[in-house]
């Protein structure tokens, strides 16, 4: 079943969205993710989805708000500066509990930065990003295949929890081509009695809002959101283990760097160092429990976080490790992809 193709990450993501039952796409071109909207524009005549090239990322995310509130499966994709522009809208979407999928094909920053790949938007992704207490569900694909699989998962999680879901990808995953298995299209039947589709005689009017002017009501809304986030944290943590069982050094990396770190683990093992890789697939919820278990093991000597930023996920690891073991960080910024050799060299220096 399905179909095997050789595809670019961004295009595969677009195809996955179509197969997941995409009904509305709203986006603004920005390198290195423009191939998503280009692909969807090319495919549009064959399908039934609405596609609008918005006047800005600000407009795009608010179109997502409107489309989601109308009960449709909707998505936007962008890259770092564009994702910053969407933060206000995402805060509204999270508060109004609207299911949608957003994608950040991350590039190097801060500022206009560089169009080369980066993981510098990790904080923005896993800490909410906009104003107020809210969480996105954040998935970190590390291959073209996962651009497909996690996009489909993202739509389902969004609907399941009425929550915005984000893919934090990067310019390399978005641009590279790999073999990919595309699943058969899934019929999507919306069950959204809360959607604003027109008040029929058999129900009260539906109101989609993030405005709760009375403090007690606003607090109740916050409590409800936090309950939901707790449930997501309990049920949706996903991670991949590689050579963990006897590992004394736990390397942690997500997305592109996790693939480099697999190579690091192989190289380390060749020279007799017992290294393993723990890769969070859900960046939020973070695999805190797994990290804590490893930190409590006598076998494990230290953790090493490898990221294409100045050290962001390392803070989440430290929170989970709670001082039980040293946590080191190795990273490159500016769009530079670290080599397995430099990572192994750094890891070797930490071995006492």
């Amino acid at each position: 079943m399905g179909e095997v193709k050789f595809m670019k990450g961004n295009e595969a993501l677009g195809e996955a969205a179509i197969r997941a039952g995409l009904q509305g796409y709203f986006g603004y071109p920005i390198t290195p993710q423009s191939e998503v909207v280009e692909y969807l524009a090319m495919e549009e005549p064959k399908h039934n989805y609405v596609l609008i090239q918005a006047e800005s990322e600000v407009a795009a995310i608010n179109m997502v708000y409107g489309g989601a509130a109308a009960g449709s499966r909707v998505m936007t994709t962008t890259s770092s500066p564009g994702f910053s522009l969407m933060q206000e809208g995402l805060s509204y979407i999270a508060c109004a509990e609207l299911p949608c999928v957003t994608v950040n094909v991350c590039r190097g920053g801060p500022g206009l930065g560089t169009i080369q790949p980066s993981q510098g938007d990790y904080f923005q992704a896993v800490r909410g990003g906009g104003h107020g207490d809210y969480q996105l569900i954040v998935l970190g694909p590390n291959s073209v295949q996962e651009m497909v699989d996690l996009t489909i998962l993202a739509f389902d999680l969004a609907d399941k929890y009425r929550n915005p879901v984000m893919l934090l990808s990067d310019g390399a995953i978005g641009q590279m081509m790999e073999k990919v298995n595309l699943p058969d299209p899934k019929p999507y039947k919306p069950d959204k009695p809360w959607a604003t589709t027109g008040k029929t005689a058999d129900r009260e009017r539906n109101i989609i809002t993030s405005l709760f002017i009375q403090s007690e009501v606003m607090e109740a809304v916050n409590n409800k959101l936090q309950e939901k986030y707790k449930k997501i944290d309990e049920n949706e943590v996903r991670f991949e283990e590689y050579q963990i069982d006897d590992a004394e050094i736990i390397v942690m990396a997500f997305g592109l760097t996790s693939r480099i770190c697999k190579k690091v683990v192989d190289l380390a093992r060749k020279s007799g160092i017992k290294m393993g890789l723990l890769r969070p697939i859900t960046l939020w919820p973070f695999p805190n429990q797994k990290v804590a278990e490893l930190a409590a093991s006598d076998r494990v000597k230290f953790f090493l976080s490898v990221e294409m930023n100045a050290g962001q996920m390392v803070q989440d690891i430290k929170l989970a490790v709670e001082g039980e073991k040293p946590v080191y960080f190795y990273g490159r910024t500016g769009g530079i992809i670290p080599t397995p050799e430099e990572i192994l060299d750094f890891a070797g220096k930490q071995i006492k």
Binding site: G24, E55, V58, A59, M63, A69, S72, A96, K199, T209
Partner: protein
């Protein structure tokens, strides 16, 4: 109905009975009523979705008994665009103030108009930021005093008040543009007629429809409701003329 009596006025069923929060004399309540009368008369309550962004009318969903979305400040046109595209057979309107439509949301307004999005803008232009306590709006008149233009709007610094009907009439895909007001019963009836026409054109899928209400704000203008009507007549209508700016050619 008691014998010998005739019902000549009633609350539309599409308006909730919740007591409105609007200040005495404000046109918002009148426009809400006119809008809901149109929805009732056209029998489209089950097909109507409204968007109310930030401004005094942000709570409009408390009063309008139709499905409603509250939008971020300035983004109603983007939100309405998506709602209408996803649900093309529904009647969609945005209900926006001057700060929302003509300052923070100008880009969304103009691009929705340029695309000819098939929904109805209801633009309440009262020349001031009522909700936040009377600051200058993009439509505040030259010399008009507000809390952020305490010596009167200086057009050398702040530019001229934006004439949105005149601007959006330029777009090919905007089909119906009218500026109305509610200072007299006759004008309120005209306003209702304009709203109804806009919805009818929308129902035919003709393109963007845009109704501006030259409105008032006794609280923000620091005057009585009656004085606000004088201000409208003496200052507002001369700069923001009432009337039809554009309409589709109707085959008789």
């Amino acid at each position: 109905m008691k014998e010998g009596y005739e019902l000549i006025y009633k609350r539309p069923k599409t308006l909730t009975t919740k007591r409105m929060h609007y200040c005495p004399g404000c046109f918002h309540s009148t426009i809400h009523k006119l809008l809901m009368e149109v929805v009732e008369e056209m029998d489209i309550q089950d097909k109507t979705v409204g968007i109310c962004p930030v401004g005094c009318s942000v709570f409009a969903y408390d009063y309008l008994d139709v499905d409603m979305q509250e939008a971020a400040h300035g983004r109603a046109a983007a939100v309405a665009t998506a709602v209408k595209r996803m649900l093309p057979d529904r009647y969609v309107f945005s209900y926006q103030g001057d700060g929302d439509l003509a300052a923070i949301g100008t880009a969304e307004t103009l691009h929705a108009c340029n695309r000819g999005e098939n929904f109805t803008f209801i633009f309440i232009n009262n020349g001031i930021y009522g909700m936040t306590g009377g600051q200058m709006a993009p439509t505040t008149l030259e010399g008009q005093k507000t809390t952020t233009s305490p010596y009167g709007r200086d057009v050398a610094k702040m530019g001229m008040p934006l004439k949105m009907c005149e601007i959006v009439s330029q777009f090919d895909r905007v089909v119906y543009v009218e500026r109305v007001t509610c200072n007299t019963p006759a004008n309120a009836r005209k306003a209702k007629k304009a709203l109804k026409k806009a919805f009818e054109y929308q129902g035919k899928g003709l393109g963007t429809t845009f109704i501006e209400v030259a409105s008032n704000c006794p609280s923000g203008w620091k005057c009585t409701p009656v004085e606000s009507l004088d201000w409208l007549k003496d200052k507002v209508y001369p700069y923001f003329p009432l009337g039809v700016f554009k309409k589709p050619e109707e085959k008789e």
